[in-house]
């Protein structure tokens, strides 16, 4: 009798354990890497909404590093170690092609129902292109981005100045305002001079504005004169006192912080900065204007194409669930949610004129043509080397350790080694 009872209890216990572990098996844990500068707090809310719709999925957020390269260094380490701890990661627009070449991401072609090319048509063309390699969809857009010129609306109005169309006008406007304001802490212009990814765009903005390309048909098409002019333009801002002396120490988020503290008249930055300028900690709330970047004299205005993409790790143990989750993150709904709550530009063209979006971020309606005409940094598997050459040269010229001429010469010979 007692023996039977014990056996029954044991069996019942075993059954319970088994069913519990079956339930556990259904529960999927996804670990997602988000760049710390792109509002992980707001992404968390988007993840929460997914968890509410899919009770069997639990999303953990991981974040680290405050620049694109610091994050790439971390992810490169995880990927070379074939570490399965990360399922989904956010990648700077320049990286999906590299990650696909290294075999670190899984293509989405199988989970996308139907024709992949047709599916990608819903995004802005630049992002459909950046995420497709040889017909394979290697990542899906998280948000679009481009560089803009932020300016202090209040100060420009006070001194009767229109937003500048050329860099020369910007210099003149800065000098006028700085002289009149007599504030020793006020800088005319803040941009990225530290040897970070943003400094690549710093170099390319005037270079592109002169109508020159860095790479054409996979071959280096370096124009040395344009490179010298571009480097000289930035160095002159420092020498004329428009930009601060230690601009070579300034990274993207430093520009954002200094502008937000009210110490900058003009700033070159990405769209994410807007949300923080309008936030409760901002000294410049409601005093900020955004326009397209100035051009060089006689040139066309040019912006640098940014944006970040969601990739699924090839070493993830939950690839299917992770891909489903990324499809949600890259949907028009999430895109709208992030535009309204975090001022991240949508990768969907129709969202720029969506009334809910324009109510929260009025300037997005004018941002669309800027994003559409923004130029992409060269696409090559050896992009990291190209980037390193450009950003260290920009940094050295701004610090005054190299002249613009020497810098352009070094840049050319080093680029030739990489892009033969």
């Amino acid at each position: 009798m007692t023996v039977t009872k014990t056996v029954t209890w044991l069996l019942a216990g075993a059954a319970l354990t088994l069913s519990a572990s079956a339930a556990m098996a259904q529960q999927t844990n996804l670990r997602v890497f988000v760049s710390s500068q792109h509002r992980p707090d707001v992404w968390r809310k988007a993840f929460d909404m997914y968890e509410a719709q899919n009770p069997n999925v639990k999303v953990t957020i991981e974040t680290g590093g405050n620049t694109s390269e610091a994050q790439a260094q971390y992810l490169n380490t995880i990927m070379t170690a074939k570490d399965s701890s990360l399922d989904v990661m956010i990648l700077d627009v320049i990286r999906p092609a590299q990650y696909a070449a290294a075999g670190w991401t899984v293509p989405f072609n199988e989970v996308i129902q139907g024709d992949a090319q047709a599916y990608m048509k819903r995004y802005l063309p630049a992002y459909a292109e950046a995420n497709t390699v040889d017909g394979k969809v290697v990542a899906l857009p998280a948000f679009a981005d481009a560089m803009f010129l932020y300016y202090r609306k209040d100060l420009l109005e006070k001194h009767g100045i229109q937003p500048p169309q050329t860099w020369e006008e910007l210099t003149a406007a800065s000098k006028k305002i700085m002289e009149a304001e007599k504030d020793p802490n006020l800088q005319g212009l803040s941009f990225q001079g530290k040897a970070i990814e943003g400094a690549v765009c710093t170099f390319l903005l005037p270079y592109w504005s002169m109508g020159k390309q860095l790479v054409s048909d996979g071959k280096l098409s370096f124009d040395k004169d344009a490179a010298v002019k571009s480097l000289t333009l930035w160095k002159d801002f420092v020498d004329q006192g428009v930009a601060k002396k230690n601009i070579a120490e300034v990274a993207t988020d430093d520009t954002r912080k200094e502008f937000q503290a009210g110490n900058v008249v003009f700033a070159v930055n990405w769209s994410y900065a807007w949300g923080q300028f309008q936030g409760p900690e901002s000294a410049v709330k409601d005093k900020v204007g955004v326009v397209k970047l100035p051009a060089v004299k006689g040139g066309e205005p040019a912006s640098c194409l940014g944006g970040w993409e969601w990739g699924v790790s090839a070493y993830s143990t939950n690839k299917t669930e992770a891909q489903k989750f990324v499809q949600y993150l890259s949907s028009p709904e999430t895109s709208e949610f992030m535009a309204v709550n975090a001022a991240l530009l949508p990768a969907f063209p129709e969202k720029y004129t969506d009334p809910d979006v324009t109510k929260a971020v009025p300037w997005f309606a004018e941002a669309k043509p800027v994003v559409e005409t923004a130029k992409a940094r060269p696409v090559t598997p050896r992009y990291n080397e190209v980037s390193e050459i450009i950003r260290t040269t920009v940094n050295a010229v701004l610090a005054g350790t190299t002249t613009p001429e020497q810098g352009a010469t070094q840049m050319e010979s080093r680029l030739r080694r990489v892009l033969r």
Partner: protein
């Protein structure tokens, strides 16, 4: 014909040789020796010999993870690329310069610290503890702490300079000042290690020597140069070997302080290796650079070992 004495020497020599050989050939002892050595040999080959061989092999290959191509044998191609790579030469020169500045610098400061710590204090432990702190601090922490010290706007160094009426320096905006800041940090960080070894050496010098010197009328300076310094030589050479090898591998402090900037003016060879392997994923070229650094370290060690042998 050999003379009797000569034969004697030869026999004695042969006997000695026989003894030595028998000891080696004695099966039981040989087995025991092999058994005792095996774990170490195995461990060493696993963690040193295999990786080094693998490294050398990779350095002869075209192996870049971003190319999507499989590894292929490239002979000396990676080494040839190094010759006209300006960044390789610049980083190597920076590494040599850091070694030439910080090793003697740390030796001088370390010697001073050790002499002070060896003075007859009543409370010796607080002095020795404070001597240990920089040594116990992780390198990257030291780099980050000093990066803040030297920060142009918020740093304590410029604050002190301004208080005494000197215009602050934008340390990391100039190749020379950034280099100076890095060298100062490295000297601060490593001189306590030098001091520890030298302090140990100081304590082996018998007091009686100083007493005798005093009786003979030698002054303090004379005592230092005639007794302390010569007897400290072995300790100093050991400290120098360790310090030079770690100086050739300098990575953490410049990486955390300047990331090699402005431009590449404070980047070291170790940082360039890290950049090629971790950032550029060019394992072939990175390995070739690492082989060069390995050879550089080997050369220095060899020179020091020769010095010790010559002294011994």
């Amino acid at each position: 014909m050999a003379t009797a004495s000569e034969t004697g020497i030869i026999t004695a020599h042969r006997e000695g040789a026989t003894k030595w050989w028998t000891r080696f050939l004695d099966p039981s002892e040989r087995t025991l020796a092999a058994l005792l050595l095996a774990p170490t040999a195995l461990l060493l080959s696993l963690i040193i010999v295999y990786p080094v061989c693998r490294l050398v092999w990779t350095s002869f290959q075209n192996l870049s993870l971003t190319s999507g191509l499989p590894a292929e044998f490239a002979g000396l191609e990676n080494y040839r690329l190094m010759i006209d790579d300006p960044v390789f030469w610049e980083t190597t020169w920076n590494t040599v310069l850091i070694t030439l500045i910080t090793v003697p610098g740390a030796l001088l400061v370390g010697l001073g610290l050790a002499l002070m710590a060896n003075m007859p204090f009543r409370l010796k432990w607080p002095v020795r503890l404070s001597l240990l702190i920089p040594w116990a601090l992780p390198l990257s922490f030291a780099g980050l702490i000093f990066a803040w010290f030297f920060h142009s706007e918020y740093g304590v160094v410029n604050d002190v300079l301004r208080r005494v009426g000197i215009e602050g320096i934008i340390w990391f905006n100039s190749a020379n000042w950034a280099f100076a800041a890095i060298c100062l940090t490295i000297i601060w960080k490593t001189s306590s290690f030098m001091a520890l070894i030298i302090l140990a050496g100081l304590q082996t010098i018998p007091r009686s020597l100083y007493e005798a010197a005093e009786v003979d009328g030698a002054g303090r300076f004379r005592q230092f140069f005639e007794i302390t310094l010569p007897l400290l030589k072995p300790a100093i050479v050991v400290a120098l070997i360790f310090r030079t090898i770690t100086a050739l591998q300098t990575f953490d402090i410049p990486f955390t302080m300047t990331r090699g900037g402005p431009g590449t003016s404070t980047a070291t060879l170790a940082m360039y290796i890290h950049q090629n392997t971790v950032d550029f994923l060019d394992l072939g070229y990175g390995s070739a650079l690492a082989v060069v650094m390995f050879l550089l370290s080997m050369c220095v060690t060899f020179v020091y070992l020769r010095m010790i042998r010559a002294k011994g």
